[in-house]
């Protein structure tokens, strides 16, 4: 009996370790004195100081942050409005548009990338930040849209009706009731969209201009041509930020659930 319950946990542990192993190695080698990453020559922070002197790498980071912020914000506005509206309007084209709008996360990334490449050159849009933002917005919208829609469908319809019954008009119902209740879904949709945008290589490669590098593109080219250990340092910093964000959101969620369970027990 005891073995039967332990085995799954061992399995979970082993897979998790394998998942973290590559990341762990990147972190370890970011502190490596040696320029060749297969040899360990002792602890050093020199790659971190060099990283901050590399203007093009920092510019790429800034580009990526701006791109991710703009795209996820666009997606939040368009996706949320549409999710709310789609449940209310009675249009025959609704289903088709909904389907097409989710295609960017259904079809392989490479197709989306090439489609944008040929289309932007057809309409003569200069490649750069604008094309990047349009392309990233396209695959960010579905994340927000789907999460918000799921939340809206799960919402108790009678809440809106109760507000109307108590004298609220359509706009007030939205601002007082709907929006606060779907806000968590909007935020998590945005976070997901932000992460996806920050991580995207394939689509960005096709739609970026000559002078606009995003961080993933920069890392990708370096991985193909030869890596400087600065990338290790950058990856470590990015990873630390991710962990902090994850812990923060986990901690926030925990406070909420803890509050809830305490209250439920008090009942």
């Amino acid at each position: 009996m005891k073995n039967r319950t332990k085995l799954p946990n061992i399995y979970l542990g082993v897979i998790l370790v394998l998942m973290y192993l590559p990341i762990l190695l990147v972190i370890i080698y970011s502190f490596n004195q040696s320029k060749i990453s297969s040899v360990w020559e002792g602890f050093s922070l020199k790659w971190y100081t060099e990283l901050f002197r590399d203007a093009s790498l920092l510019q790429a980071l800034i580009n990526s942050l701006v791109l991710a912020a703009a795209s996820s914000l666009n997606a939040a506005v368009i996706g949320t409005l549409a999710a709310v509206g789609m449940l209310k309007v009675n249009l025959r084209s609704k289903g088709v548009i909904e389907y097409i709008s989710t295609l960017p996360i259904m079809i392989p990334e490479i197709i989306l990338g090439m489609v944008f490449l040929v289309f932007f050159s057809l309409i003569g849009l200069p490649f750069g930040m604008t094309t990047l933002i349009i392309a990233h917005t396209a695959f960010c919208i579905p994340y927000v849209y789907m999460l918000v829609k799921a939340r809206l469908v799960g919402l108790d319809k009678s809440l809106g009706e109760a507000a109307k019954d108590l004298g609220a008009g359509e706009l007030r119902v939205f601002l007082d009731i709907t929006l606060p209740l779907i806000l968590p879904a909007i935020v998590s949709g945005m976070l997901l969209a932000f992460a996806m945008s920050m991580d995207d290589v394939v689509i960005s490669i096709f739609v970026t201009g000559v002078n606009t590098n995003t961080l993933p593109i920069k890392i990708y080219t370096q991985l193909k041509t030869g890596v400087t250990p600065k990338i290790n340092a950058l990856c470590t910093i990015l990873f630390a930020v991710t962990v902090l964000m994850g812990l923060l959101s986990g901690w926030l969620g925990k406070i909420n659930t803890q509050k809830k369970t305490v209250l439920e027990e008090n009942r």
Binding site: L159, E161, K164, D165, G167, R172, D176, K260, R267
Partner: protein, 356 residues
């Protein structure tokens, strides 16, 4: 002076191919406690939603104090609803929930605070202002929902099975409280339930609904003692239904032939003639069972089952034609046992003629 506060005229409503409401009419007096009683899917909730403005009828009119409000938005009519699941806003405190309609009217904060405190006091929840709905028990949520609907001083309060989610004991307690509150405020309540006991207990009038129509509208006594149809008789207090051809009529009673035996029922106003087929309802507690051969005349039956619930013993008997009747009486046991042959009888005045 007319004290009719709400009128429904020939309301019809379809959802797709199903006709939910089939031309209903109802007039409700100021200060009345009226209950719409029916099984699920009979159209009672739709009726309530049409009164609240959450649904628009396909035809017919809703008049509130003589004014046509049929197409008015819910936020424009002075009618409030206590929702079945309470519909308390989960992200607002009790105070904000109750004060919501007042804030929409831009009433000053001090007045809102005072009004909310009064409303909470009225439902005996003083001191719960800062609690969130998630922190309340079912009964407390119920009270907040009532306070929230009442704070707006509505002309009519609509209650959609408000006690459905509560346990039995709390339900009885809340029934009394609600009734008391309604009397004290002199407010018109339109109440929905599928629980006939609740309806009988609380209402001034009961409207029994079935398939989008009212089967009978009357006081609890009328509905219980003088059901107009076999459906009402069965639904309100589970009566036994028998039918046969009329063989004799006198001033008080009608004799008819049922499974070869002549039985009697009280006469009612409707015209009746010999040879006509009639249906009769008799409540289980009015049915007597006597062992076969004890000299009593009546229908022949065999005891099939005995069960005890709620201080009442139910004896189920099977008639010669295979149909079942229930007889109930107080007490734990009777000398009758399963398999015994019995004679089924009742006093003519306890049997009512009904429409099928």
């Amino acid at each position: 002076m007319n004290d009719i506060i709400l009128q429904l005229q020939q309301i019809e409503k379809r959802f797709g191919d199903t006709k939910v409401l089939d031309g209903i009419d109802l007039s409700i007096k100021q200060g009345e406690f009226i209950t719409m009683l029916g099984s699920s899917g009979c159209g009672k909730t739709t009726t309530l939603r049409i009164i609240a403005g959450l649904e628009t009828p396909d035809s017919g009119r809703v008049l509130l104090e003589g004014r046509d409000v049929t197409n008015e938005e819910p936020n424009k009519r002075n009618v409030n609803t206590v929702f079945q699941n309470y519909a308390l806003f989960p992200h607002m405190s009790v105070e904000s929930n109750i004060g919501y309609s007042l804030r929409l009217k831009h009433i000053d904060k001090a007045t809102i605070k005072k009004t909310v405190a009064e409303a909470l006091d009225m439902v005996q929840l003083s001191g719960y202002e800062k609690r969130m709905p998630g922190e309340l028990s079912g009964g407390q949520r119920q009270r907040v929902a009532i306070a929230r609907a009442l704070v707006n001083k509505p002309k009519v309060l609509l209650l959609d099975e408000p006690l459905g989610a509560l346990d039995l004991q709390l339900r009885h307690q809340m029934q009394t409280e609600l009734k008391r509150l309604q009397k004290r405020l002199g407010l018109t309540f339109i109440y929905i339930t599928h629980d006939q006991e609740e309806a009988l207990n609380m209402s001034d009038r009961i409207a029994v609904m079935r398939e989008g129509q009212f089967e009978q509208i009357g006081t609890p006594e009328q509905v219980y003692d003088m059901p107009l149809t076999s459906y009402v008789a069965r639904f309100v207090g589970s009566a036994n239904i028998l039918s046969g051809n009329v063989s004799a009529i006198d001033e008080q009673s009608v004799a008819f032939n049922c499974q070869g035996v002549t039985v009697f029922a009280a006469r009612r106003d409707a015209p009746i003639s010999i040879g006509q087929t009639v249906t009769m309802a008799v409540r289980s507690e009015k049915i007597n069972l006597t062992p076969q051969g004890a000299g009593e005349t009546g229908l022949h039956a065999v005891v099939t089952e005995k069960s005890f619930s709620g201080g009442v013993l139910h004896i189920i008997v099977t008639l010669d034609d295979g149909s079942e009747l229930v007889s109930s009486r107080h007490g734990i046991d009777s000398p009758l046992a399963a398999g015994d042959s019995v004679t089924v009888s009742w006093k003519p005045e306890n049997a009512v003629l009904v429409d099928l």
